[in-house]
Amino acid sequence: MSGSLKSLDKKVAKRRQVYKPVLDNPFTNEAHMWPHVHDQPLVWQLLQCSILNKLAHIQSKDDYPWELYTEFNDIVQYLSSEGGSSDPVCLFVCNKDPDVPLVLLQQIPLLCYMAPMVVKLVQLPKSAMAIFKPVSKYGMLLLRCDDRVDRKFVSQIQKNVDPLRFPWLDAVKYQRTSVKLLKTTVPIVSKKRQK
């Protein structure tokens, strides 16, 4: 019924919508931090055929035919180790899936950029996590591209994925202030109550 007490209660506003201005980070532009992949289905197919399918048959991690890391801590340790081998490295990340924490993803592009070796950061398509889950908890795979890895696979990935770019780290240029509005609510307090 329209005249019930509950519906009447809803018609009386208790909170008011407000828009709070907030300052956004001038540097982290998520869309540009992850390098663009030109032929996403091809890269995903290649990775599945040449790496993931073979990994599925291997039981223990010691038997992996390549040098690869799937744990976040190992990946960080490898990328920040100075004086290691200078082989190029490919890092595959499922950054579009749920179950991968955003805080973790935000750390990765800069970490790769700061690494002493050349890192190819490859973002994987949506729902790639389903296949990655048994291999890695957070959907990450770091592969060292040495002689054991197929040359064609590496060259295809090099060709299809853009290099990491941080324009704000290379050149000094003032970025415009990006102020955004945060949609929230505040309670409506009557003047009588305030007294």
Partner: protein
């Protein structure tokens, strides 16, 4: 007087038009056009359209400039060989933090996560980055302060500003 106005049939008779207008004006609320009822949603929230301009933009410009100038001093130490003044960089961030508190302007988590709360360094190259045994992501600053994000509790957690429709670009 009123009768006269109503009887006048000349389309744009200046005196009558003037009086008509004035008369309408005096009528008050009805003449101002149909007043729309304020919209209230299911939760009892009064809906208001977003503002067109943002007040006190200069505070934001100042914060933005301080952040970038600090980034410049940090940048030189991070990748290139040129020497940056890390103490200067820290001081800029400290000023920025104070300004934002004094002027009650807020920063998004995307900025706050890059700043050490204690020594005001930019956390671009943290001393240590790891997932601890209890499943939290810990970021250790060069000064030894640890930032912990409990990602094991809810991997899909998004902050209020990261959720859909909460952040508007004016």
């Amino acid at each position: 007087m009123e009768k006269k106005i109503r009887q006048c049939t000349v389309p744009l008779c200046p005196p009558c038009h003037y009086w008509q207008k004035k008369d309408k004006h005096n009528m008050g609320k009805k003449a101002q056009g149909p007043r729309t009822k304020p919209e209230i949603d299911v939760n009892g929230t009064l809906l208001v359209p977003p503002p067109r301009t943002i007040a006190n933009q200069d505070h934001f410009h100042r914060l933005n400039y301080l952040y970038q100038i600090s980034a410049y001093q940090t940048r030189t130490t991070a990748k290139t060989t040129a020497k940056g003044h890390i103490s200067l960089a820290r001081n800029y961030i400290k000023t920025m933090d104070l300004v934002s508190k004094k002027t009650k302007t807020s920063l998004l988590p995307t900025i706050k996560r890059t700043i050490c709360k204690k020594c005001h360094r930019l956390l671009w190259t943290p001393k240590k980055l790891e997932i601890t045994h209890d499943g939290a992501l810990s970021v250790t600053c060069a000064c030894g302060t640890v930032k912990r994000y409990n990602i094991a509790a809810d991997p899909n957690y998004k902050t209020y500003s990261e959720r859909e429709d909460n952040l508007i670009v004016p």
